[in-house]
């Protein structure tokens, strides 16, 4: 019995540390945010903006984003939130599929759901805020075609196939480059920067005439940039990312990255919470979806966006 007595005592002692943790509800309705990533700058910015807006609206904001960016962990977090009986859920889906049953549970519990960034097809979702990824990717595609004057190969490093965001971004660039008659090398790195680095390294070695690399998120293009730099091709290969995270903007300023597509995670977080706030107040004129316009950031306008 001693073994377990000591282990159990130690566990209770540790748990007691968290005893003061339950945030005192200051009367506001509890809105839980379950994002995709707890470490990605884009998502952290989104969450902080959402939290600020929620506090201003008098809502009790809690972030239950899982530390693993995968749908299995996210589903558990969402289910827990539903069980806790929160007033509203804001979800940044890890995948366009897989959350159906949890959304059904939310419906059964009468908890409204607003999605941000990635679209999920489900009739219980009250509203969706996202970058118009398709239009934004076309901007990136046009940029590449223009800068390369329609010549050379384009390496596309996509996100996770099947996720709406990834597909839209890849398709936008792919279609524009193909329409201009360019050869496209099409790969996926599952949003991982080390994967993107590897792909870039291999493709640059296999093809001597790559004119541009587009990656569906900034961490990936920064990973690819490392490979390009290693081969001494910095400046000779056009590098275009997506997200406009601070590291990317700094790289553009430094001349190591050519362009990125600026989403507006601050606005996304804010709009998501404002939509939820409106729903909780019982407003009936809530838009089904808000598409936020994106803009290309390169050397010519990076100073506007660097804080």
């Amino acid at each position: 019995m001693t073994r377990y007595a000591s282990l159990v005592l130690a566990m209770v002692a540790m748990l007691a540390m968290f005893a003061g943790c339950g945030k005192d509800p200051d009367g506001g309705q509890k809105v839980v945010f379950v994002g995709y990533s707890s470490t990605n700058t884009f998502w952290i910015t989104l969450k902080n903006s959402a939290r600020k807006t929620a506090e201003q609206a008098g809502l009790d904001f809690a972030d239950m984003t899982s530390s693993e960016p995968d749908v299995v962990a996210q589903k558990a977090a969402i289910d827990n939130a539903i069980r806790m009986g929160v007033a509203g859920l804001i979800i940044g889906p890890a995948n366009s599929e897989g959350l159906g049953k949890s959304l059904d549970k939310a419906r059964a519990a009468g908890i409204p759901v607003v999605t941000v960034d990635t679209r999920v097809e489900h009739d219980w979702i009250s509203s969706h805020v996202a970058t118009d990824n398709a239009a934004a990717a076309e901007l990136a595609g046009d940029y590449i075609v223009e800068k390369l004057r329609g010549k050379g190969k384009v390496l596309i490093i996509g996100g996770t196939v099947g996720v709406q965001t990834a597909d839209d971004r890849r398709n936008g660039v792919f279609n524009k480059c193909k329409a201009a008659g360019m050869t496209v090398l099409d790969f996926d790195a599952n949003w991982k920067d080390d994967e993107a680095n590897r792909i870039a390294q291999e493709q640059l070695a296999a093809h001597g005439d790559i004119g541009a690399i587009f990656a569906a998120c900034d961490p990936m293009i920064l990973g690819a940039k490392v490979a390009v730099k290693r081969k001494g091709l910095l400046g000779k290969v056009l590098l275009v990312g997506f997200d406009a995270i601070p590291e990317a903007l700094a790289a553009i300023k430094k001349g190591e990255l050519d362009a990125t597509v600026r989403q507006d995670p601050v606005r996304m977080g804010r709009e998501g919470v404002e939509l939820m706030s409106g729903i909780l107040e019982g407003k009936t004129d809530i838009p089904k979806s808000i598409a936020i316009k994106a803009v290309i950031v390169d050397k010519t306008n990076v100073d506007e966006y660097i804080k």
Binding site: D70, G85, G98, N190
Partner: protein
């Protein structure tokens, strides 16, 4: 034999006490935790880990170690996803043969692990570490560019589509089978002997290599089964499944009370270990504690569990 089961039950009572204390703690601290429905949530979140950890229990009791089972889960998810995907036309196979092939694949990887470990003398840590990377790479290759979703209704029955019934029965079945193997068969008795002292077991005539390899094979089979249930529940396959699950499984096994060094333990305790981990995660979520702290706390609990195990096993030897 009955005596062994009684002994197991008594030792399980210790881990059960731990689980009870944790549950009471959260029931007291969190108003939203106090529902019967929370219990179903925890069970739902525990099932696949429990299936995986049942296999891990067997391997650990035999004195072995398998770091590849998380990646084997990913590989099997992609195998079954690939075979049954209806997203681009007719699926390659019907549900039953696809499930059989996938289970065979898991079993096969386990066999390879076991054979390499037992016949080359390369430590289990290294062999299964290598296999972890091999399996993950193979999973990524299978998945590349494929849309692995849109499965048949038959396959989805293995998931939640009929309520929690199928996954729960499968989990219970695995636990009962592995439990019986360990406590009621000669094989089980030998596995404990091998884990306790491999040399002595060998000298006593126990077919050490064969039994050890069988444990790895069963571990691989459990990984495949966990992957199949998970893929059916989530209705799509992705190659990033099971990341770090081998470590969570080992964690659950040691928290439950099975010795990391082999020779003692049981699958009932592992189930309690899984429930302890999932209860901690769920309870902390209900209390508003974030996922970072949850990870830290579980890590601390695992270290404590093994530490106490070492102290006790030294005490047993003196």
């Amino acid at each position: 034999m009955i005596g062994d089961i009684r002994k197991q039950a008594i030792r399980s009572a210790e881990s059960l006490a731990g689980l009870a204390v944790i549950t009471v703690f959260f029931v007291v601290m969190s108003p939203t935790y106090r529902q019967w429905a929370t219990l179903t949530d925890i069970l739902e979140q525990s099932m696949e880990l429990a299936i995986l950890a049942a296999g891990t229990t067997l391997v650990l009791i035999s004195g072995g170690l398998d770091l590849s089972v998380g990646s084997v889960m990913a590989l099997c998810t992609c195998i079954v996803g690939c075979l049954l995907s209806g997203a681009s036309g007719e699926p390659m196979m019907h549900a039953a043969p696809a499930v059989a092939v996938t289970l065979g694949a898991g079993l096969g990887v386990g066999l390879v692990n076991g054979v390499v470990i037992k016949y080359t003398g390369v430590p289990a840590f290294i062999v299964t570490l290598g296999m972890m990377m091999i399996a993950r790479g193979a999973a990524l290759m299978l998945a590349a560019g494929r849309n692995m979703s849109d499965f048949s209704d038959g396959f989805l029955l293995l998931g939640d589509s009929s309520g929690y019934a199928a996954p729960l029965w499968i989990t219970a079945g695995v636990i009962v089978v592995v439990g019986c193997l360990l406590t009621m068969t000669r094989f089980g008795f030998n596995v404990y002997a091998i884990g306790g002292n491999e040399e002595v077991a060998r000298l006593s005539g126990v077919p050490v290599k064969l039994h050890s390899i069988a444990c790895y094979a069963i571990g691989g089979f459990c990984a495949a089964l966990a992957a199949i249930v998970q893929t059916s529940r989530f209705e799509f396959a992705k190659p990033n499944r099971g990341e770090s699950w081998e470590l969570m499984a080992i964690g659950a096994v040691v928290i439950g009370g099975t010795s990391l060094f082999g020779g003692s333990g049981g699958v009932g305790r592992t189930v309690i270990g899984v429930l302890i981990i999932k209860s901690l995660q769920t309870g902390l979520s209900h209390m508003g504690v974030g996922s970072y702290w949850q990870k830290i706390l579980i890590g601390v609990v695992i270290i404590l569990a093994v530490w106490i195990d070492r102290v006790q096993s030294r005490r047993r030897k003196t």
